[in-house]
């Protein structure tokens, strides 16, 4: 499938006459006078700034070349590429946007389900019928079960300022509210745990990397998981400036290949054991920054503990084995982690003596059975080495969440009158036993007034594909007595979309005006122009939600008389009020980018500079290496200090005799989560395959490129084998995000890792542990 086919299709469609703004309008190419030209070339080609706006940490400056109403090329930022202001160059996915825009499988009309739920059988209906159906079901559910029966699902496919989830929240808040959630599928353990330790989560900007003399990347693979558009570029500059880079990862990742001076192929789930053994080395070799610990931390040693505790509860007592008789030496950690004692000692000495040093943890290590512990242990190491709050140092907890970004709003959603929130990972539990869930399940503001009965799943694939244990999920969703109505909007019939009762065709980000921001780390905004009309009856969610609101008598309140464009203009006008340098709407449309100079931002700089004025936002005002709050919870898996807790389905679980391989589901450069799995250019660039070592493949008679079956008690999938020495023997890796494609026996033929993952949550955050899996692999 090449772009040629799509364009022919599109041109055919473009020939149709443009209609009025009626519900069933058929679009022609956008009239040229409505296109805002930033550059008009000699041949009439327009070049405009556009957005690649899915859930990626980067936000890149893309431009579309439009000729005769068709996007003929994608190019990028052509501002001067300066060291202090590097261009925002897109990755391969942004460059392949045309293949998504003109994909022949794009949804074009609203449809309602005609077969069993999940079967994927749909029939075209009109937008009027669609809006009636949604309004009637929404009203029925809210009247019967209350607004808390409505769940607006975790969905990240559209990160624009007026995205569907925000619009749905706005509608529901006018109808009495909805069941809220907290956490994410990305950073649950990090985000939930950080407040107990440092008060909040923050990270130094990538611009500080050039000041680091040693960079330790634990489970951090920015070459494929783009955290910032230029994260790899800054890493490269740091290396050029002489930084030594150590990568800890079960795989020799793309990041490790390029940047690592050393690779430590750790067994998954054992990160905290490695860190704790490093702490042991630093303690016994007297390499710790005692002044830092004394000044900013509590709980490191017995003399800095909160009052009223029995002795032996400090971190040092645990590390030295004074509390449990087991000194956490490198020799203790070696069989656990698979890293030899000499290497652990060497890394501990380097981290303690090469300054400043930055320990950067990706989010993968915290998506494990006890993901809270690697976050906590990383922060402790950063404190022991005095690197927290220092330029070129780092806080050690985990990537992202920088307190740095432009103050620009989004569609206002209003206030949710329902105060009940669930940890998002437990949403399937909230369907089957919502009203029975308690604070032990992480429910806040409970109990739930109803089980989930209505789901909005707008630009999301967590309904099926990205949630753990697909076989459990689909069994629950198929039962129409449980969730009574599921509304899905998307570009394609994704695995989640198959479970829709009504399936709505969305517009692409090139088919509407919108705003884009990076996750964090740099202050800029990108304007994405509408450069082509959406095909057939594709609509942005705000459009149909405002019609649903009107059916329910809430139209005026919902829209306040504003179109999407009016909201965008208001958002920009508000931002300009706060920042006089901010461009006007028309200026931003034209330039596509407003960017403040990148800065060397140091997380927790003020707390370490002036701790009396800026105490850490914890009960003690200090970094709580020992947290009395956590200790007092008195629950298994939630120790007062960071500990190594052997994972269920980890290397020490007896189940490993039945399923001898640990399986992780890393991000893959060719997808943003599950977005772009449909893109054939991406499949050509990097096909879906399982990484398996020559040892493990050889023992199973598996040849390179051959299809293999991967299975455990929860499910099975078929995937091609990529035999590589770049993965630790005993570990396999299945890139996450492939679209669940079951055969008649329920065996996924595409290699979606979530058919193997578990819904068992982590103990404190109730987060997802989707990298903690044991499996067996055999020839298919």
């Amino acid at each position: 499938m090449g772009i040629e086919l799509d364009r022919r299709l599109f041109l055919k469609l473009s020939g149709a006459a443009a209609g009025s703004l009626a519900v069933s309008e058929v679009f022609g190419p956008l009239a040229l006078e409505h296109i805002f030209p930033s550059e008009i070339k000699g041949d009439g080609t327009r070049v405009l700034s556009v957005l690649c706006n899915n859930n990626c940490g980067g936000r890149c400056h893309l431009t579309a070349h439009i000729k005769n109403g068709v996007v003929v090329r994608i190019s990028a930022d052509d501002s001067p590429d300066l060291a202090e202001r590097p261009q925002l160059r897109p990755c391969l996915k942004g460059r392949a946007m045309r293949n998504r825009l003109y994909h022949p499988d794009r949804l074009r009309y609203p449809m309602k389900r005609v077969g069993m739920r999940g079967e994927g059988k749909f029939q075209r209906i009109s937008w009027d019928e669609t809006v009636d159906f949604i309004a009637a079901n929404l009203k029925r559910v809210v009247d019967h079960y209350g607004p808390a029966a409505v769940f607006i699902h975790y969905a990240t496919g559209d990160c624009g300022a007026i995205n569907g989830s925000a619009a749905a929240e706005r509608l529901m808040n006018l109808m009495g509210g909805f069941l809220g959630y907290y956490n994410s599928f990305s950073s649950a353990c990090l985000n939930y745990t950080a407040p107990f330790i440092t008060g909040y989560r923050d990270t130094s900007s990538y611009q500080t990397l050039v000041h680091s003399k040693l960079i330790i990347l634990n489970g951090f693979n920015p070459a494929e998981t783009i955290f910032e558009t230029n994260s790899n570029y800054y890493l490269s500059r740091a290396r050029e400036a002489g930084a030594k880079v150590v990568v800890i990862d079960p795989r020799l990742t793309e990041t490790a290949v390029t940047f690592a001076d050393e690779w430590l192929p750790l067994k998954p789930t054992t990160d905290s054991a490695l860190f704790i053994a490093m702490a042991h080395v630093m303690i016994v070799e007297k390499l710790i920054d005692q002044a830092f610990l004394d000044r900013y931390c509590i709980g490191f040693d017995e003399t800095h503990m909160p009052a009223g505790l029995p002795p032996g509860q400090s971190f040092m007592s645990y590390v030295l084995g004074l509390s449990d008789g087991t000194p956490k030496t490198p020799e203790w950690a070696a069989p656990i982690t698979g890293i030899d004692p000499h290497t652990i000692r060497k890394l501990a000495r380097e981290y303690a003596t090469i300054k400043p040093a930055q320990l950067i943890q990706g989010l993968g290590p915290q998506r494990h059975a006890y993901g809270e512990e690697s976050v906590r242990a990383g922060i402790v190491l950063a404190c022991m080495t005095g690197n927290l709050g220092v330029l070129g140092g780092g806080w050690g907890g985990g990537e992202g969440g920088r307190r740095l970004g432009l103050a620009v709003g989004a569609l206002p959603t209003g206030i949710n009158p329902v105060k009940t929130r669930i940890p998002v990972f437990l949403w399937t539990d909230a369907i089957v036993r919502g009203t029975e869930m308690t604070a032990d399940d992480g429910v806040k503001g409970g109990p739930l007034q109803s089980n989930i009965k209505f789901i909005f799943n707008l630009a999301g694939n967590t309904l099926v594909n990205q949630h753990a244990d697909i076989n459990r999920t689909v069994k629950i969703l198929r039962d129409e007595r449980l969730v009574e109505c599921i509304v899905v909007s998307d570009h394609f019939v994704t695995p989640s979309a198959k479970f829709a009762d009504v399936l709505l065709p969305s517009d692409n980000s090139l088919e509407r005006n919108d705003l884009g921001f990076p996750w964090s780390g740099e202050k800029y905004i990108i304007f994405g122009n509408k450069v082509v009309n959406p095909p057939d009856e594709c609509k942005h969610d705000y459009w149909w939600l405002s019609r649903v609101a009107a059916r329910l008598g809430l139209g005026e309140q919902f829209t306040e008389g504003k179109t999407e464009e009016d909201w965008l203009k208001q958002i920009i006008a508000d931002a300009k009020k706060a920042d006089p340098d901010f461009p006007t709407y028309e200026e931003l449309r034209k330039t596509g980018l407003y960017r403040q100079p990148p800065q060397e931002y140091v997380a927790f700089e003020k707390e370490t500079r002036d701790p009396s004025k800026y105490p850490f936002k914890t009960p003690s005002g200090k970094i709580e290496i020992f947290s009395k709050t956590l200790y007092d919870m008195n629950k298994p898996g939630i120790p007062g200090i960071p500990q190594y807790i052997p994972a269920w389905e980890g290397p020490e679980d007896g189940l490993i005799r039945k399923y001898p391989l640990q399986c992780i589901g890393p991000h893959y450069k060719r997808r943003t989560h599950s977005t772009y799995d449909e893109n054939p250019w991406m499949e050509e660039a990097d096909p879906q395959s399982i990484w398996i070592s020559p040892q493990d493949a050889g023992a199973r008679g598996i040849a390179n490129g051959e299809p293999v079956k991967v299975f455990n008690d929860r499910g099975a999938l078929v995937i091609h084998a990529r035999i590589t020495k770049r993965i630790r023997p005993g570990v396999v890796a299945i890139p996450q995000g492939a679209w669940y494609t079951p055969d008649q026996n329920g065996v996924c033929q595409r290699g979606c890792v979530n058919i193997l993952t578990s819904q068992r949550p982590t103990p404190l955050a109730h987060g997802n542990a989707q990298h903690t899996i044991l499996v067996e692999v055999e020839r298919a």
């Binding site: 499938m1 897109p90 460059r95 070459a223 290949v257």
Partner: protein
């Protein structure tokens, strides 16, 4: 011509195998699946845990001694005297695919729909307008450059004698790479 020969330079010690160059090239040239005018290949070596890998982003190497030019039965290939760019003329191409077997680097890409071959022309039109080739402008790592072969070849540590790549003696490719030592061919390491 020798001193005016243009050449690609790729710093593989910066390349993260993101394949952005490959896709940007595809988009610019409207090349469908199966036509990889630029392609990033990955090679690995060593034994666990002392494993290494390297990525070679490569399009047409605009060789100084190009087999495609020499042997194309339709004379579709020419090597420009002014800058050494090897240009393929689709109007002359008869789709015999001889060049796809001859080229040791697999640069010519046969398009079954067109019945013709396509190949990198160093973004001739862009260069003539004073712009960089698309892959150069696209690389997020700023690892690809274009310049005069004499200048690039004079940089310290650059090579074209790379493990797993054909011997440069075959066609004298006008491209150079900076690679880690492990990626150099045995004879290059001995030098």
């Amino acid at each position: 011509m020798a001193d005016r020969q243009l050449a690609f330079f790729v710093d593989t010690t910066k390349c993260i195998n993101c394949k952005t160059c490959e896709i940007a090239c595809k988009d610019f040239n409207d090349a469908g699946v199966g036509r990889r005018i630029r392609k990033v290949r990955t090679f690995e070596g060593g034994e666990f845990p002392m494993v290494f890998a390297y990525n070679i982003s490569m399009a047409c190497n605009h060789c100084e001694d190009p087999l495609c030019v020499k042997h194309c039965p339709a004379k579709a290939y020419t090597k420009r005297a002014s800058d050494g760019i090897v240009v393929h003329d689709p109007d002359r191409c008869i789709g015999c695919r001889y060049c796809t077997w001859l080229c040791p680097y697999g640069a010519p890409q046969y398009d079954p729909k067109e019945g013709r071959v396509r190949k990198c022309n160093l973004c001739l039109d862009e260069i003539e307008k004073g712009r960089s080739p698309v892959c150069v402008a696209a690389c997020p790592m700023r690892a690809i450059e274009v310049g005069r072969l004499v200048d690039i070849a004079a940089r310290p540590g650059v090579t074209i004698a790379i493990r797993n790549l054909p011997s440069p003696a075959l066609t004298k490719p006008a491209c150079r790479y900076k690679v880690r030592r492990e990626a150099m061919s045995a004879e290059e390491v001995r030098k």
